[in-house]
């Protein structure tokens, strides 16, 4: 298994290089650094010298791949590709286009994201699994049919509607919790509860439906028939056999997203004014701060790949039949 994991980790490197090349192509070849400087300074009619100054300040005044002015190894290293793109591999995200230290910002802002993401994930899972079990218990009856229809209806409503109406009714009309904002420590609770509730409600449709399919698939298998044949009560079959075995796809499906939770949710955080990584990214997108966008793409990719590797490990833990080679 160790050998397998090492192989997987090594495979990460070409993937990350690919991601790096892709973002590099998008931001330095499709658009020259000069375009970025102009977008950042705002407008076409900026004086060339101002643009030049900005490029100097942010270290964009280098050639793409090969620097004629330097000699030896520096000709290859003192370039945009190395200084702006490959350097991400050392987790040195550098300075954002507006002059802030990205690594510091990231380490600061990932905690509020976690405050929202983890409760949403756990409560959402519990709610979805409960509903899905209920529907599976009443399968092929009107309860099940209307439940599925309800799920499809919930799925068909854009998440933005949930957020806006949640903010409006709970925050503005009933004034139960603040509409947006954030504080650390225990007072975070009143700011976190609304985003979590909205997040859970928004996920019910798709989640319940997906878990119901998993349960039903499991219920069609032979060992369930055996369990019923030996006279087990339906509730016992459901909780002892179906739930346990259905946990294999459920757990492995959840594990893959756990590392990405650090990134937070773009939409949620920006609507609720949570100072997490999601709103950080969205602000960067709106201010066209490409240094941050590139760093977040890189970080997101790493976290996702770690999630994939964790999934493999989780498989061996929850399903003893699986061996990694």
């Amino acid at each position: 298994m160790i050998a397998y994991l090492i192989r997987r980790l090594l495979y990460l490197i070409p993937v990350l290089i690919g991601v790096n090349l892709l973002t590099f192509a998008l931001y330095f070849i499709v658009n020259s650094p000069e375009d970025i400087a102009r977008a950042q300074l705002g407008g076409k009619h900026i004086d060339q010298s101002v643009v030049q100054d900005w490029e100097d300040q942010h270290g964009y005044n280098k050639p793409l791949f090969y620097n004629n002015k330097e000699t030896g190894i520096a000709a290859l290293t003192d370039t945009l590709f190395v200084k702006k793109s490959l350097i991400l591999f050392t987790f040195n995200f550098g300075v954002s286009d507006s002059g802030r230290n990205i690594s510091h910002d990231v380490s600061q802002r990932m905690w509020p994201s976690i405050y929202i993401a983890i409760p949403t994930l756990i409560i959402g899972l519990l709610v979805n699994i409960t509903f899905a079990m209920l529907l599976a218990f009443f399968r092929q009856t009107y309860v099940d049919l209307s439940g599925v229809l309800f799920c499809i209806i919930m799925m068909s409503i854009s998440g933005l509607f949930y957020i806006i109406s949640g903010q409006y009714f709970i925050g503005k009309v009933l004034q139960l919790v603040p509409i947006s904002g954030f504080e650390g420590g225990f007072s975070a609770f009143k700011f976190v509860i609304l985003p979590v509730v909205v997040g859970v409600i928004g996920g019910i449709g798709a989640g319940t439906r997906w878990y119901r399919t998993i349960f039903l698939e499991e219920m069609g298998k032979d060992y369930i028939r055996t369990a019923r044949a030996k006279g087990l009560a339906e509730s016992r079959v459901l909780f002892k056999h179906v739930l346990k075995n259905a946990m294999i796809p459920i757990v492995t499906g959840v594990v893959v997203i756990i590392p990405s939770l650090f990134l937070g949710s773009l939409i949620m955080e920006s609507f609720f004014g949570i100072p997490g990584l999601g709103s950080y990214t969205i602000d960067a997108i709106r201010q066209q701060d490409f240094a941050i966008v590139r760093a977040m793409v890189f970080l997101g990719t790493i976290l996702y790949c770690i999630g994939l590797i964790m999934t493999d490990i989780a498989y061996t833990i929850v399903d003893p039949r699986v061996r990694l080679q």
Binding site: P14, V15, G18, I152, L160, F161, T281, V293, V297, T301
Partner: protein, 462 residues
């Protein structure tokens, strides 16, 4: 007045898509397994109703995709679509600012200059609404009822005519008597298709007549911040939503089929390269990748204004760019699916037989493998559609969606955020976006489910 047709990029691609789907349908008609799947879809009442509603949306979107420029005595007007022309003067009467649905007055007080020269601060009358309805409120209710009754009656009459004509045609083709055919349809003796279709069409016609009539007398969904009719806006948003849902597939499908088949069939280094590419693209979180790509393209578009002669073309280019990017980021899942299926198919006896008989690789891929992948492609397409329509709203909110000047549900929801926070609350643009987006998405979801149930061999066995 003379009309000059204007073909925007997205229009051209929509026409291409329609032509392509006509060819696909003609091909599918000859395949027995697809015909039986189609018959299975038509056994579900929900699927039929969804299909009729989707077709209605598509018709509006299509009419809105035929653009022209009207020239009137050397006075060039802006680019319009056939749809604008049909519903005019709906898009043209601009009020000053917000007004509530069916209102006769503006939502905000403003200074009115009376005929005798005095200034008064009050709610000004809307320009659009008839003078007669302005005085007492009772008048308005009566007027609305009058409009509704008349248009409902008109709708029913038209519906009867349509029913009679279509039944007559069907009866003539099958050489039956009109009454026998009518009886069969009413009692659903030949399956549930026709009665369901006719009833759904009837409801849509009556509803459409009502809305059309009322929208010419009132702003039935109010007006927005700049005084634009919200009902018109949400109707125009249909095209944007449909384009994002459908044009994206023009990119996804060729990529996924080509790469999926090649990597599954040839294996070896081809497989390694293609797998590497899609793992890389797939490992970047979706929104981030789309945002990164759209931002890059936005800068490109704004730095090269010389490519676009006017604002409409520029907004159109952005819409197209969004579709291309969504397509380039979403082909990976389908590709992986097709690769797996090709790996399985190439070991099948009939493919092995074809190889033994010396059929060329190209022939095997196109004749023997591709047709057997089509069901997966169709399932993926219909399943993705609703997600894409929803994604438009989210991406537009993030700031990497359609152009702010393009009328879209995303832009409407985006604006609603601030409208709900102001006092007094402006709720109707959000409601309008919801009222028109929700049926489209839910019908797409229901229809997609029916298609999947009919085409997926794993489910069919159960």
């Amino acid at each position: 007045m003379t009309f000059h047709p204007v073909i925007l990029w997205t229009d051209a691609l929509i026409y291409l898509l329609i032509i392509a789907s006509i060819f696909c349908v003609r091909w599918a008609k000859r395949q027995e397994q697809l015909r039986s799947a189609w018959r299975q879809i038509l056994q579900s009442r929900l699927a039929i109703i969804s299909l009729v509603i989707l077709v209605t949306y598509a018709a509006i979107g299509f009419l809105d995709s035929i653009h022209f420029r009207a020239t009137d005595q050397n006075q060039i007007t802006s680019v319009e679509s056939v749809f604008d022309y049909l519903v005019s003067p709906l898009g043209k009467n601009d009020e000053k600012t917000y007004s509530a649905p069916f209102a006769t007055h503006l939502y905000n007080k403003d200074i009115i200059i009376l005929p005798n020269g005095l200034h008064l601060r009050d709610f000004p009358h809307l320009k659009f609404v008839d003078e007669e309805q302005m005085n007492p409120v009772d008048n308005r209710t009566l007027d609305i009822i009058r409009h509704c009754t008349l248009s409902t009656l008109g709708g029913i009459v038209i519906w009867f005519i349509i029913c009679a004509l279509s039944i007559m045609l069907a009866a003539q083709r099958q050489q039956q008597k009109f009454l026998t055919k009518l009886n069969k349809i009413v009692k659903e003796k030949e399956g549930i298709v026709w009665r369901t279709v006719l009833i759904t069409v009837g409801v849509i016609i009556v509803l459409g007549f009502n809305l059309f009539d009322l929208s010419h007398a009132y702003h039935i969904l109010g007006t927005d911040k700049v005084g634009q009719d919200v009902f018109y806006e949400t109707l125009k948003s249909i095209r944007t939503g449909l384009i994002i849902g459908t044009l994206t597939t023009l990119i996804t499908v060729p990529f996924a089929i080509t790469f999926g088949m090649l990597s599954g069939y040839f294996r070896g280094w081809v497989d390694d390269v293609i797998q590497y590419v899609y793992t890389t693209v797939n490992s970047i979180p979706d929104v981030l990748l789309i945002a990164a790509a759209v931002l890059a393209l936005q800068i490109f578009i704004s730095n090269h204004p010389e490519f676009f002669s006017n604002l409409v073309q520029r907004a159109d280019a952005r819409l197209l760019a969004l579709c291309i990017i969504l397509g380039l980021t979403s082909w990976t899942n389908l590709c992986r699916l097709l690769r797996g299926e090709t790996l399985k198919l190439r070991e099948q006896d009939y493919v092995q037989a074809a190889i033994a008989l010396g059929t060329s690789r190209k022939q095997i891929l196109i004749k023997h493998i591709m047709p057997n992948l089509m069901h997966l492609v169709v399932i993926a397409l219909v399943m993705d559609f609703s997600g894409l329509v929803l994604a438009e709203a989210v991406l537009t909110y993030v700031g990497v969606g359609v152009d702010p000047t393009t009328l879209s549900w995303g832009n409407m929801i985006n604006a609603a955020r601030f409208e709900l926070a102001r006092e007094p609350v402006v709720w109707w643009p959000l409601l309008a976006a919801f009222l028109f987006m929700f049926p489209l998405v839910i019908c797409a979801n229901l229809f997609a489910d029916a298609v999947r149930d009919a085409l997926d061999p794993r489910i069919r066995k159960l």
